[in-house]
Symmetry: C2
Subunit: 273 residues, 2 copies
């Protein structure tokens, strides 16, 4: 009965290194030519190994894509969290703006990575949710925390606003199923209700009511739509993309945050300087 479960000899070390190199070269190719042009043979060639050799490390092309997707989610989450955590936690407007700008900048810096996770799903297969869910929800979880803090500071856009009146009760009830706030509801129900993408850890301690969470989702959708529109150039060449994005970001902010007493337009002004 040896104590070592996993091997650790020179072979294992070498394997780990090669796996890392494969992922590194794959990310290079992805950044240069996009996911569609990603070729296992080309990666193997770059690494000086024979084409079939790469299948010792990668199960299939889809498998490699899945790893890249997870990696991209992590990269995005790291960028957004780093930016967000460097901001005064009490400045809700700035936190929202920071999340938005960090997401946008990350997407513009590595458009192929963005396309990988928020563009059209690859060919037939769709990323196995069980491998991408955890990494994919991080940013959304951050938004939830922001909503919770806004709730605690009484800065949430109130429910009786115009846009909520337009939602009749039935719709709101439906939403309570779809995007339930889960105030007090056990996390297991959360997973069932909103699906694996919005899973357990992010709903812990969140209690903001279904309407607020619904508007949070709308803000998120608008933010993501704005970034998508810009990265994919859906409106053609836009002269002042910055201004357009600031508009979208501010509209989205207005869906969740009441304007602070002192500063209006702060979230944009901060980044205009």
């Amino acid at each position: 009965m040896a104590t070592t479960d996993q091997p650790h000899g020179k072979r294992a070390r070498r394997r780990e290194q090669i796996e890392g190199e494969i992922l590194r070269v794959a990310r290079e190719h992805l950044a240069l030519h996009g996911a569609a042009a990603l070729s296992l043979r080309a990666i193997a060639r770059d690494l000086g190994m024979v084409s079939s050799g790469i299948y010792r490390y990668v199960e299939s092309r889809d498998d490699l894509l899945t790893r890249l997707i997870i990696d991209s989610y992590r990269s995005l989450a790291d960028a957004v969290f780093a930016a967000h955590d460097a901001v005064d936690a009490n400045d809700l407007d700035r936190r929202w703006a920071t999340i938005g700008f960090a997401l946008r900048q990350w997407a513009l810096d590595q458009p192929h990575d963005f396309a990988l996770i928020y563009g059209s799903p690859v060919p037939d297969y769709q990323a196995p949710a069980d491998r991408t869910a955890e990494a994919g929800t991080a940013v959304l979880g951050l938004l939830l925390r922001l909503l919770q803090d806004a709730h605690d500071q009484h800065r949430l856009t109130p429910v009786d606003e115009a846009l909520d009146r337009a939602l009749d009760d039935e719709s709101l009830d439906d939403l309570a199923v779809t995007a339930t706030a889960l105030s007090g509801a056990p996390p297991s129900d959360a997973v069932r209700a909103v699906g694996p993408m919005l899973a357990e850890p992010f709903f812990a301690g969140i209690s903001i009511g279904s309407a607020a969470l619904a508007r949070g989702l709308a803000a998120w959708t608008l933010l993501l739509g704005a970034v998508t529109s810009e990265v994919f150039a859906q409106l053609g060449p836009v002269p002042d993309a910055d201004a357009l994005f600031r508009l979208h970001l501010d509209v989205a902010r207005s869906l969740i945050l009441l304007p602070a007493q002192s500063s209006t337009g702060l979230s944009t002004a901060v980044f205009t300087a």
Copy 2:
């Protein structure tokens, strides 16, 4: 000097027919397997011609893709216009809801077509704007007309709302360049300012001010983001996707339309029945 410019013999007729069949089969394959799996050889095989023969009719794979993109834009525009034009022109809320639901239904019915035009751009190349611009802007033009009508009926969400206050003057000026309303500006400037996607014919007779147009763009972005989110399953499996979409649609509506006196929630109620 013959009077006929284009040939019309039995050869031309046959060519026209074959071109149509190629597009038809291509659309079949697209619907079944998606754009990434589209193969010229397979199409040629289905048509009983030898693989190289298809290059007499199609310049390249990208060329066929471009035709499919244009076709998809047309198909989408047809669907949205047909639904929209069957609605009372004075009922602005219902017109907006109809546009949104028609877009969503079209996207859900043919997700691969939707991915083709609103998903990640194909491999390296991006669709030549000069061939896709006209078809691509139709729906956006419809939204502009709706905004203009709202303006004329004094139903536009006013400029001094909270979300506009947040936009400082500088931002609004930037936007006036980006998404200028072009009140009175010559169409040639319009093309230069907003790019080929928002080209001449759609700005004829539009005079709603830059702020309203900016909010119109935000509404459009949110709508498109909502459809993208659903078609690409970006939030994972959502139990009540209908309710979530109605929420997004209503939030987007609130960005451009003041609630009518009599009916709140009408736009959703209409389609809930």
